[in-house]
C-alpha cells in the first residue's frame, strides 16, 4: 500500500470521488492552474477540466454562497477556503444559509456541501494564516465539523463528508500536511462521521484531542497509561465514546489548539461535567492556546499547547 502524506491522501480522496460522481466539483481560489497553495488540488484541473475545478474570483462569501446554490441545485461542491483565517467573510453564508436550508425547507432542499480549509499553527505563516476557530462552526446546528489527524483518516473522512447529505466543514492542519506518512489504501473506503476513535487504550486518564494537537498529545503520554481519543468529528461529537472512556479512567484532559475561552474543548468538558460527573476523580483540565490575539511567528511557540504543557496537566489530574 502506498505511504502518503495528508496532502496526497486528501488529493486522492478528491480525485476518486470526482471520478466516481460527476456531481462532485471543486472550487476556490487558486485550486485550478496552481493546484491550490498547498497543492491539495494538484492535477485535478488537468484530469477534470475547468468546469469541475473552478478557479473563482477572490471572494469567500460567494465561494461558499455559490456552493450552496450549486448544492441545492443537485451538485456536490467541495469548496476550498484558502486559509481558515479567511473563512470569516463566509460565516454568514454558513450560519444563516448552509446550516438552515434543510430545516427551512422541511427537507425539500438540502446542502450536500464540503468546505475544506487549512487551519492552525506550526508552519510559521504570516498573520491570519494560523487560526483554529472550529468552535464557531460547532455552535451552528445543521453544520458538521470534521478535523482529521492523519492521512488515512483524512481520506476516509473526506469521502464520508462529500457523501454526507449535510454541510461539512473539513479542517486540515497545515502542520500535518507533510508531517507524517501513513498507509492509505487506494480506492473506496470511508471513515464514518460522528464517531470518535480510541487511538490508544489506557486506564489512568482520558485525553481528548483532534487534528494536529493529537500528535502533541501522543508525545506527551509516552510514559502514562492514558486513553487517547481522537474526536475526528467535532460536531455532532461522539458523546458515547467520550463518556465511556471517562467512566473508565475518571480523569480527563482535553487538548485543543484554539484559545481556551469558548473553545470546543470547553464543550467537551461541559458535556462530561453534565453527563459523567459522578465518575470523575478530579477537575477536568483543558490545555489550549492562551487567551490572547494570535501572535506573529516569533511568539507562536508560546501560544499553542506544547507536549510539556500537556504533561503538566496530566500530572495535575493524576494527583486525584
Amino acid at each position: 500500500m502506498p505511504k502518503l502524506n495528508m496532502v496526497q491522501a486528501i488529493n486522492l480522496a478528491l480525485k476518486e470521488e470526482m471520478q466516481r460522481d460527476k456531481d462532485v466539483v471543486v472550487l476556490g481560489e487558486d485550486v485550478g492552474r496552481d493546484g491550490g497553495v498547498f497543492r491539495i488540488t494538484e492535477g485535478l484541473l488537468a484530469q477534470f477540466g475547468p468546469d469541475r475545478v473552478v478557479d473563482t474570483p477572490l471572494a469567500e462569501s460567494v465561494i461558499v454562497g455559490a456552493s450552496i446554490g450549486m448544492a441545492v441545485y443537485g451538485l456536490k461542491p467541495v469548496a476550498e477556503v484558502q486559509f481558515e483565517g479567511f473563512i470569516y467573510p463566509a460565516v454568514d453564508q454558513i450560519s444563516n444559509h448552509a446550516s438552515r436550508i434543510r430545516s427551512r425547507s422541511r427537507g425539500r432542499h438540502t446542502v450536500p456541501l464540503v468546505i475544506r480549509t487549512p487551519y492552525g499553527v506550526g508552519i510559521k505563516a504570516p498573520e491570519h494564516h494560523s487560526e483554529s476557530c472550529e468552535a464557531i462552526f460547532c455552535h451552528m446546528p445543521g453544520i458538521k465539523v470534521v478535523m482529521p489527524a492523519s492521512p488515512y483518516y483524512a481520506k476516509g473522512l473526506l469521502i464520508s463528508s462529500i457523501r454526507d447529505p449535510d454541510p461539512v466543514i473539513f479542517l486540515e492542519s497545515t502542520r500535518l500536511y507533510r508531517l507524517l506518512r501513513e498507509e492509505v489504501p487506494e480506492g473506496e473506503y470511508t471513515v464514518p462521521l460522528e464517531k470518535a476513535r480510541v487511538v490508544q487504550e489506557g486506564k489512568d486518564v482520558t485525553i481528548i484531542s483532534w487534528g494536529f494537537m493529537l500528535h502533541r498529545t501522543l508525545e506527551a503520554v509516552e510514559d502514562i497509561d492514558a486513553e487517547v481519543i481522537d474526536l475526528m468529528t467535532l460536531n455532532p461529537f461522539d458523546e458515547e465514546t467520550v463518556y465511556q472512556s471517562v467512566k473508565k479512567t475518571g480523569r480527563v484532559v482535553i487538548v485543543n489548539e484554539a484559545p481556551k475561552t469558548g473553545s470546543f474543548g470547553s464543550e467537551i468538558s461541559a458535556s462530561i461535567a453534565e453527563s459523567a460527573m459522578l465518575y470523575l476523580k478530579g477537575p477536568i483540565l483543558r490545555v489550549a492556546s492562551c487567551d490572547v490575539v494570535l501572535p506573529l511567528p516569533k511568539l507562536e511557540d508560546y501560544y499553542a499547547p506544547t507536549a510539556e504543557r500537556i504533561k503538566k496537566a496530566i500530572s495535575e489530574v493524576m494527583k486525584y
Partner: protein, 351 residues
Amino acid sequence: MPEKILDSFTVKRLDILDEKGNADEALMPSISNEDIRRFYEMMLLARTFDQRALNLQREGRIGTYASIFGQEASQIGSALALERTDWVFPSFRENGVYIALGHPPYKILQYWGGDERGLVTEKGLNIFPVCIPVATHVPHAAGAAMAVKYRGDEAAVVAYFGDGGTSEGDFHEGLNFAGTFRLPAVFICQNNQWAISVPRERQTAAGTIAQKAIAYGIEGIQVDGNDIFAVYKATRQALERAKKGKGPTLIECFTYRMSDHTTADDASRYRTKEEVDLWKSRDPLLRLKLFMEKKDLWTEEYQKEAEAKARSAVDEAEKKAESVERPDPRDMFNYTYGKLTQRQQQELKDF
C-alpha cells in the same frame, strides 16, 4: 480632458406603458389579449392577497408581513416571463412572484404565520426559500446558475432583491461571480426607492442601480417597474440572453413601496404624504386597466368578476391557512440534519 478614453458606457431605460394607459407600440412585446388579461388578473390577485395579509396581521392572525403594494408590475411582469425550468431566488418581498409562479397563496400566509412548511414548494416549482438576510441569496443564484451551466440545462436563474440590497457585499460578489463565468442569471432589483427609512439616494451615490452592471462587465437596464409590459419584455430578453450563453443581466425595476416597510414599520416617520401620493398616480394596475379599456379588454363587469375571483381565491387561502394543523415541534429536530444526532436524541427524550 487630455486623457485617453478607454471605454464608454450608457445606461438605458425602457418605458412602454405610460400612466395614462398609452403603450409605445414600437416597443410593445407581443402578448396575446388573453395574456394581457392574465397579467391584469394576476396583479389583482396579488394585490388582493396583499391587502388581506395586511389585515390578517393587524388582527394578529399572522406575524410581521412585508407588503408588495405598488410593486405588482415588477413582480408579476417578471415572474410571468419565466419558464417552468427556471429557478427563482426571492428576497422576503416576493409574495407576488410566489403567487404568479403558482405557489398556493395559503402557504404564503402559513409562512408569514411562522410555519416553515409554507416555504415548501411542490416538486418542479423551483423557488428557493424566502431570503431574509438582505442580498445573501444573490450568491446562491450565481451558484445555481453555475450548476445549470455545468449540467447544460435549458434554464436560467433569477434573483430578486431591493435597492438596499445592492449595498451588501454579497450583491457585489454574486454579480461579479456571475459575470466572470458568464452565467445564465438574471438579477432583478426592485428599486422601490426605500430601504426601510433610507432613501435610494442615501444608499449609493450612483445615479441608477442599473449602472452597477458596468462594474461587472454585464448587461444592465432600468425599466419602469410599474409598467408590466416593460418589466415583462426586459425579463424575457434577459432570460434569452442568459440561455444563449450571453451572460447575466441586472434589471432595475424603478418602482415604489406604497406600504410601510413591513407591518412592524411606520413609514410616516420618514417620508412625506406628497411623495406617496405622487406614486399613487403611477399605479401599475391602474395604467394597465386604462390600456385594456382602450383596447376593449376591460369593462366594469369584467372588473367585478376579476375581483370576485381574486377575493374567493384569497378567502380560500385564508381558510386553508387557518385550518392547517400546527407543526409538530419535533420537526425542528427532524430537519436540522438528515438524521438525529446523539445529543438530539437525548434532547428529544427530555422534550
